[in-house]
Each structure stands twice: as C-alpha cells, then as structure tokens.
Subunit: 671 residues, 2 copies
C-alpha cells in the first residue's frame, strides 16, 4: 500500500460521524441509496458501459464512444434490467452512466416537447417512434443570431393553402438553427420553432416537426443543410448542430397542434394556452441544476479534498516533516466552503423539486397561482447556483496545483461541462433579471398585500441590527438566516426605491430598469443565498438523525452562510445590519469552523458517494493512490504511442545529428 | 458587407480619440509600434507561419503543427529576417507568432539557466549547441510529488569518487521529474535539479546536465524512462513530460559549477551564492505576466467588445427594434472594467520591468539592496494579476453567451493557456504569502524606520476618512489612490496586529502565521491593487498626449479603481475610510463612467492592436462579420468530414430503417 493510501486510511479513522447515514440523508432516504447502488452495480459490472480514459481522447473519439455506450444502454442494458424512460430508476441511471453519452436532447427535450405541444394523435405517432429510437429528434429553437430572446427568432413557416403545406425557410444566414444538441450528425427529425405566417400575417412562434435526414441513407433531405458546429469547451459527446432550411415543405399535420391549429383553408385556431410549459421548465431546471451542476461541484470537492489530504508539501513548522496541504488554512478556506456549498445547494434543489411536485398537484385542481413565484425562484436559482458552483469547481481545480491543470485530475473535464450551465437553459444574466422583476413587484406590493411563501420574509421591513457579540453565536442557524433575510430585504428595498425615484424623475420604465440592472443582479444573489441558507437550516431542523451527523450538517450550513458573509461583507455593512467588529467575528467564526471540520473532511466528501468510475480522476480516487495512478495514466498519452514520436524526430533529426557530430568530435579530441 | 460589419463601422465612427496614438502609448512609443508592425508583416506574409484552425485540432495535431512552425521559424524566418535569440525584435516575434509553438522551455528556460548556473567553459560548450538546436534541453525541477516546495525534491545525485561520476537516481515513484516542458518527446538533454550527496552527506539542490536521449536515434538512454504526461487544460503544443532516473551515471563535469564545484576527490567547494538568480525571476515574471496573461485578457476583451457591439438581442424599449447587447448596463459592467484592467495591469507590468532594469544597473555597481522589495512586488503581482486577469477572461467568455462556449470564439483557447499562469512560476497562494511576509516585515519596521519605494505609503499611519460627497469626485486619480493606500495600510496593520497578538499569547510564529494566512492573502491583493492604481495614475500624469487620449486613459484608471471599490466595498467600509453613502456614490460614478466610455469601446480594444491572425476568433475579427465566419468555421468540424458520419450511422442504421418501414406503412395505409 502506498504512503498516500495509508494517509487516507488514517484520515478515515478520524471521521467522527457515520458516513453511510449522511449518504442516506443526502440521497433522500435509505431506500434511494439502495436503488442508486443497485443501478450502479448493474452499470459498473457491464464492461461495455464503462468509460474509457476520456481525458486522453479526441473530441471525435469521445463522440463515437458516447454513441456506442448510448446504443448499448438502450439495446442491452435497459431490456436486461427492465428499465425504461419512465422507470423510477432513471435518475440513478443518468447519475451512474456519467456524462459520456449521446442523444440526451432526443430523450430529454424532443420527446417531452412532443408531449407538451402535440395533440393526442400526434403524440401517439411521434412519441412511439421516438421512444424506440426509430426516429431521432432534436429541439431546434436557438438560431445563429438569436439565443435567449425567443421573439427575435427568424426562421419562418409560411402556410401554402394550395398544397396544404408549410414552407420552412431561413431568410438570412443568421436565421439558421444553431446549437441544438443531437442535431449535427444524429437527428433525422427536428422539432422546429418557427414564425408562423398565413396570408402574410405573423402568428408568432410555433412548433413544427420537420424530417431533416433520409431514414434509409441518413443523408440530408433536399433543401436541408445540416452539420456539427465544431469543438467546444465541453460536451464532446453532443453533436450541437447547424440546420438551414431552403424552402422546405412539410405537411400541414406537422404543426404540433395542442395549443393552436391551422385549418386546411388557412384559418388559424388558437386553443387555450398551456401554462404548464413554464411549469415544466421549473422541473427541468431543478433536475439539471442537481444533475449537471451541483453534482459536478460534489465530484470536484471529492477529488480536491482527498488529494489535499495525501499531498504533502512544505513545512508548517520549520525543520519538521512536510505536511498535507490540507493543514494550511488557505487550503481549508479554498476547499471546505465548497463542500458546504454542495450540501447547501443540493438540499435547495431537492426543495425546489418538492415545491414543483406540490404545484403540479395544485394544477390538477385547477390552481395555477403558484407559477410566478416558482418560475422566479427557479430562474434565480438557475443563475445563482450555476454561477457559484462552477466558479467553485475552478477554484477547487486550482487548489490542486499543477496536477489540477492536467486532465488526469478529472476536474478540467467536470468543469468544462458544468460551466455550460451558466449559458444554456436561459443565459444567467437574463435569468437573474427575470427573478429580479418578480422580487421588485413583490416589494412594491408589500405595503398593501401580505406576501407568502419564498418572499414572506419581505413582510417585515422594520430596521434592526444584529445583536451578536461572540464569534460562536455566528454558528447558529437562526442568527445566520436573520442576517441573510435582512440583507436581502434591504438591497431589494434600496433598488426598488431607486427605480421609483428614476421613474418619478421622468425616466421611462425600461430605462430606469436598465440603469438599475447591475444592482438588480445583486438583489437576486442576495435573495437566493437567503433562500438556500433558510432552506438548509429548515431541512436540518426537520431531520431525525444521530447527533454527530446533525452537528456536521449544522456546521455545513453555518460555513456556507459565513463564507457568503465574508464575500459580501460590503452589503451587510452598507445596510447597517453588521458592524465592522461583527464582520471580524463572522470571519473568526468561519476560520474556527474550518479547523473543526478539517478532521471530518474526508467523511464529508465520501458521503457524496461518487465511485471512482464517475470521478475519472487519478488524484481523487477512493484509495488515495495518487502517484502510481498518475504515472499509469500518463503512459497512455497519445504522444507516447511510440518511444520516439515520429513527427518530432522528423523535424529535429538533422539538428540532433549535427549536435552528435560536434559532441563526438569533442570527445575524440580529448582522447 | 454584412449588417454586423456595418454596425462595427458605425461604432468606429463614434470613437472620439486617435486610436493609433493610444496604440503608440500602449506599445511604449511609436518606434515600438513600428517594429511590432514590421515583425508582424514578416510573419503574417509567410504562409508557413500562419496558425491553422486550432479550435478544431486534436492535441497531437496541434503539437505536430507547433513543431513544424517552430522549426520553420528557426530554419527559415530567423535567418531571412536577420533575427536571433538576442535581437530586440524578439519580444515582437513572440507576440506575433501566437501561442502555437514548441521548444519554449528550451529557449526560454534551459538556455538562460545554463547562463545562470554554468562556468564560462560550460556556457561555451552547452549554450552554443543549444542556441543552434543541436541539443534540445529541458529544465527538470518539479517532481511528481513536489512542485513549489523546492527543498522537498527527492531526486538524488550521489558522487562516485572511483569513477568521478554522479549517479542520478529517483528513490521512489514520487521523485520522478514531472511537468517540465519540452521534456516528454523533444528534449535530449535535461538540466536536472537534484539533491547532491557526497560521502553520505547532503548538500542541497544542485543543477546537473544529463543526456536523456540518444542523438542519433532519439531513443531514451539506458536507465531513463521518459514520456509525455498527457492532455491538459491548455498548452497543447508543449510536451510536458515525466522523467525517471534509474542509477544514471554522468561525468563530474556535468555539475553546472558557477556557484559550487565538486573536486575529483569529492571535496565540495561553495562559491559566492549568486543572488541574481532571484533577480532574473523578477524579470521572467514581468515578461510572462505581460506576454501570457495581460495580453490574453486584452485579446478576450477585443473579442467580447466587438461581438457585443454587433450582436443584437432583445428589446431595450418594448416594441422597438432589437439592440446591440452592449446597450445593456449589465453587459457594459461585464466588459469595460476588464478593458480597464488590461490597461492598468499592462502599465504595471511595464513599470515592473523598468524597476528591474534600474535594479540590474545598481547590481552592476554592487548594490543588491533592492532585491527583497522587487522580489516581493513581483511575487504579489504574479499572483494578483494572474488571478484577476484569468477570472476576467472567463467572465468575458460567458458574456458572449452560447458562442462564447464554442472554440470558434477563440476565448476558450486563450483562457485555457493563460489560466496556467495561476499555477506555474510559483503557485499563486504561495506567491501571495511570500509578498505578505515582506509587507508584514515592513509594517513592523514603520515605527522605527522610514520606508521607501513601493511601500512608502505605509509611513503615514494616521486615521482619516474620505471627504468625497459627489459621485464625480470619485473619478479623480488622487482621490482613488488615497482610497487604495488607506485600505491597504489598514488591512496590513490589522493582520500584523493580529499576528503580534497571537504570538504574545503563546502561539509559535508559524502557527500565528498560518492562522492569519487567509487575511494575509487579502492584504497582498489590497497592496497590489493599490500599486496598480497608483502606477497607472502616475503613468498618465507623466504622459504628453492629446487631451482626448488623456481623458480616456484617466477614465480607464478610474474605472479599474472603482470596480475594485465595488468588489471590495467590505474592506473600505470596515476600515472606516468610506461611508455606506460614499460606496453608493462610487458605484454611481462607475455606472456613469460605463455610459460615457461605451461610445469609445471599440476604439479602446482596437488600440490593443491584435490582428485577426492572433485572435483566431470568428466573433471578434476586425470586420465584425460574425455569422458568416461562424458558418465557414463550423463546416470544418471533424464530424463534418462526410455528410453521413459513419460511426453514427453504424449504430443508428437498424433503428432508422425500422422507423422508415413504420412511417412508409402508415403512408401506404392512408392511400
């Protein structure tokens, strides 16, 4: 056993709580952990499912291998295990196959959109085909020239009465569909969002099913130009594509007509607008935040913490042996707040999903009133959690020093995919401002209406200050929740007043809004951090578990909160809730927490329960055997296929031979 | 001409200063701009020098192509243009060949180290060979188990009297050399730092020349295991390597013996320690910060600003046409502070280089007294500038929305290389703490000694507060410099007092230091920001230029400072220099500056003078023709080699044919 492995074993002996118990809580109950492990075993024990060394592969190799795995899962694993797209195991399947798979948009977006937009007849036809991969679809919304601003999309669907067809067309190059996943090389059908035009009149965006490739040869159909948009930061296994339509005709029946229909004679029939489309965005955001962002942070924490416990470097006390880098306060400050962030944002995502489930229940009873709150919360969470967590992954990567810069650490690959979460599913700044609009609206109502739910804390607008005068008191959840609620309500108040002031002074609404938008982004960060701290505190409060687990969770909650007080001390001081002295006490409390959490560090990340297969990291594996694993990995570098790299030798040979002749001449002349 | 190109032309007409004049100032004088352009033309006009589409290439393709370009430059371009490693043109050669080249460690580190460590005879032998590429060397210092902490290195060089040889050996796997550039596949020699042992006694780290590959076959020599360490975040053209020694014998003469020598009988002779080794680190840091980090930020700014001026998205005023995203305050706040940061850190790097030149002059007169100050400043600058600038590049990348995530934008590639600057040449946190040690030492002397140079501002320790009561006044350099000096001296004072308090209460020095290290990092950030603001202000003050250029540079200086006040408002409030009201005024001043700078935005980045060849960006090219360039680029994706991607078709074919049969059956049954 290597020295490093022994060090990690010793660390595990220091942990003072039951790691398995914490895992069960994290998973939402022991039965979930069991199901997760069962799924994990089924996948892990199938060699065809295992990921290869993705860190060494080219983009094309990763794409090809992802396609191979995806088809194997569909063809072999799902039937063998009795899973399908609606199994309760599916969440865990997604968790355990890692990120190296294809056709995610087909399964995760195209099929659900058929359900959302299609009539019963259309669903019967397309969903059955799609579920069996007999057609592969993409969701073609964003264009080369337009992303988040949907009304600006330029692709047109003009109804031709004579033939009872729609003519899909891109009027200019920027109208070409751009970015949709699975579109470049895989999809043969696309759900295209296009501007509907009948008799020269525009009816806005509508969803059409368009076949784009031949089902025999897989060649693009006439009028279609389609391909992959090239290499990106991450998502190597996704063929994000471009798709250009040159007067492509599709039958009238291919307008998905749950919400609106075009009759053969061109009559446009609008049906009830289905607000649940927005609702399902909430659900998608909660799932993707957990699956793509929070879990990525959890993996990066696992790697960085384990590595920092076995990496010995430098003397803390001069003349004494080298110490694990985790002994340095600066290292603890880099790592442990992100472990806390993983717990905090994880429980907030679970809560968002629960809120969605309750909302869905109410919708069935005809009550859609919860939508604005839920929509605002999910937009704010999306932006804020994606930003915090992906910034954290990069800090964790750098905390691993040189080896963090190598793909061998696994973190560069984790980050490259997760960081896309700041951009897709609504660009972060746009999301921040959507949430801000709701918060300002609530603030403006608070004098006349009592607020409920996630904004209820705005009801109390009285001035106060924090009473804490001992560092220790800053570890109490009640104290911390009060801090964040006060800060959030004061920054909302301040910007709402500024907007009102500007509009009273003659600025049009949109200008006042733009002038305040920088502060509005900060308002949402304050609101969401408040939500995360309060949610985490209440989850712990309701938990029945062993005292050591409760203690460590309370510490996680306090650490997440204190880190945010340190980061945003300017806000707390400006609103007058904390004094400079109290800010110092909060930092003291945080540093004290770090020291007390340090012996439990490995237990806290072990509890996330990410297998070595999922981490794909030489420096973060469970056994801590860092150096041998790095060496074995390096040998597989594409440049090491042969001892002498032929291209290098080709260019250097004549120089080397000249050097040889000079050195040999020198040796001879000495003899 | 595309609509986007027209928009950028219109933008350029709004610019109210002479861009070429600003370029000359940025370059340090019109003669430098001229030389830069001459070198640029020589390289640009040689098709063999041009970079290919690196964003689409695999790591191995980039490495091979980098080697090809490097050899072409050495064999053809340098002789043709009359350049060599000591030409004054060299800085501009490095600037203009972009980052796709090999053998950078051989030229930039191995050869200078021969000069630093070798005797005259050794220099005569090895430098001549190396300068002609007749040997290729690497600088083998870091090991698998050790990076920044040099005393921990494990490779041993044991002197064998009998044979008059050193035996180089790695006692365990973690002792293997790891990370040195050019080592994996290119180098045939290595300058190895190893623990010298004579008769069982350790003498510390010493530099040895070790041949590692055969000069005829390029095969590793007996006892040597060498190879590439695999794929990384960036630096695709560098073969960072591993190198293991199993009892490798080298002649006694291969100890580089400027500083110490081993006589044939094993007598160790120490000569005067050459402190200039530290001095040259200062020079290297200034050069690398400018060439690898600040210039990377400048390129990212150029791309993001141009793109934001032609990317139209959303309505600012409801019902009106879409506007360029630059019209949004949130976008201005994302971009313009980083344009300002580029100017601010650029001039600070120039100043550091000038300080080094003066120091070098003094050393010739025997005066080494300036070394501690210069060393501390360069360490603090290294960490702080690398962190600020690379964080900025990532924010700029995200500001480009979806297209920023594509390699087509160029920013992912720029970031991937620049961010390594946070880790190499001394890990950032270690650098921060080195600078902190100097600052605390200075603070402890200030009561008894008057301080000079970059810490002179610590002399004035009297309490005061800022007098500003109008937002406008926050744009005056004097006001801003005073803010940053006050903040820096107060945070230094506060942590120095905490350390003294802890040691008085019985904590050993090293423990007190570790307990304060989180605050010490913040101290250095405060000191360096202060240095950058003060330097920028004094550079502008001394400048003779046209009033519009002076105005825009003053705005850049103010914007950099105000952005840092906003970011660190907690510090300014805590030390009591600014009131909450004044923090609001500072933000008001910043937002006002953004609006006033906006019409000059394109001029400010055009002045950096990065050619399209260097930017390698579809969205940031000079002509603004974003969309057509993106489409042309995408077509070259490796997945688009054929219309039907064979691997995809192989896996999907049977499903598609089933889908076809079902759909055809359906159509027939309808007929």
């Amino acid at each position: 056993m290597s020295k490093q492995s022994r060090l990690l074993e010793e660390e595990r002996r220091k942990v003072n709580f039951n790691v398995e118990e914490l895992t069960n809580i994290y998973d939402g109950g022991v039965e979930h952990t069991e199901m997760k492990r069962k799924v994990e075993a089924a996948i892990h024990n199938d060699p065809e499912c295992r990921c290869k060394d993705v860190g060494m592969m080219t983009r094309e190799e990763r794409f090809n291998d992802g396609m191979r795995r995806t088809i194997h899962l569909n063809k072999v694993v799902f039937p063998r295990e009795g899973w399908n797209a609606f199994s309760k195991e599916l969440d865990y399947v997604l968790r355990n196959i890692g990120k190296e798979f294809c056709l995610g948009i087909h399964t995760g977006v195209f099929l659900p959109c058929i359900l959302s937009f299609g009539s019963d007849e259309q669903i019967a036809k397309w969903l059955a085909l799609g579920a069996q991969l007999q057609i592969i679809g993409t969701y073609a919304q964003t264009e080369l020239g337009h992303g988040t601003f949907l009304r600006g999309l330029q692709t047109v669907a003009t109804y031709d009465k004579a033939s009872q067809e729609f003519i899909i067309n891109c009027p200019e190059i920027s109208a070409m569909k751009w970015w949709p996943g699975d579109m470049g090389k895989s999809a043969n059908h696309a759900l295209v969002m296009a501007q509907l035009v009948i008799d020269g009149k525009k009816y806005g965006m509508h969803p059409f099913i368009v076949q784009i490739r031949d089902l025999t040869t897989h060649m693009p159909l006439p009028g279609i130009t389609v391909g992959d948009i090239g290499n990106k930061v991450g998502f190597e296994t996704t063929d994000n594509g471009f798709l250009h339509f040159n007067q492509v005709r599709i039958p009238r029946e291919n307008l998905l007509c749950k919400n609106s229909e075009v009759k053969p004679d061109g009559t446009y029939v609008a049906k009830t607008k289905d607000k649940m489309v927005y609702g399902s965005m909430v659900r998608l955001r909660a799932i993707f935040l957990e699956g793509e962002v929070v879990s990525a942070l959890g993996k990066a924490c696992t790697i960085a913490v384990r590595y920092s416990l076995v990496r010995q470097q430098g003397e803390l006390e001069p003349g004494k042996p080298e110490v694990a880098v985790m002994e340095y306060m600066t290292q603890q400050k880099k790592l442990l707040p992100y472990v806390a962030m993983t717990y905090a944002t994880h429980f907030a995502c679970l809560k968002l999903r629960k809120m969605y489930n309750i909302f869905e229940q109410k919708v069935k009873e005809g009550d859609l009133s919860g939508l604005p709150e839920l929509h605002a919360l999910s937009a704010g969470m999306k932006a804020s959690v994606a930003e915090q967590c992906t910034d954290g992954i990069e800090i964790l990567r750098k905390s691993c020093g040189g080896h963090g810069y190598s793909n061998a650490s696994g973190i560069p690959i984790i980050w490259a995919r997760a960081v896309a979460g700041c951009t897709y599913e609504g660009e972060n700044t746009v999301m921040y401002l959507q949430c801000a609009r709701y918060l300002v609206k609530c603030y403006n109502q608070v004098q006349t209406n009592r607020l409920h739910g996630t904004v209820a804390y705005l009801n109390n607008m009285s001035q106060s200050t924090c009473r804490v005068n001992k560092a220790n008191d800053f570890q109490q959840p009640g104290v911390l929740v009060a801090c964040f609620q006060y800060r959030a309500r004061e920054v909302i108040k301040s910007v709402a007043m500024k907007i009102n002031h500007l509009t009273k002074n003659g600025f049009p609404n949109h200008e006042a809004w733009n002038k305040c938008s920088v502060e509005l982004v900060n308002v949402v960060k304050a609101h969401i951090t408040q939500y995360i701290v309060a949610t985490f505190a209440s989850v712990i409060d309701e938990l029945s578990c062993s005292p050591p687990v409760k203690t460590v969770l309370l510490q996680m909650c306090a650490l997440y909160a204190l880190e945010n007080i340190t980061l945003y001390s300017g806000d707390f001081l400006k609103v007058g809730y904390l004094s400079p002295k109290q800010c110092d006490l909060a930092l003291e409390a945080e540093l004290d927490l770090l020291s007390r959490l340090r012996p439990n560090a490995v237990g806290l990340v072990d509890a996330f329960d990410y297998s070595d297969d999922l981490l794909q990291s030489c420096i973060g594996a469970y056994d801590g055997n860092v150096y041998e694993r790095l060496f074995e990995w390096a040998k597989k570098s594409p440049l090491n296929k042969s001892e002498v790299h032929e291209e290098t030798y080709k260019y250097l040979k004549s120089y080397l031979h000249a050097g040889r002749d000079i050195l040999e001449g020198e040796t001879k002349s000495k003899l």
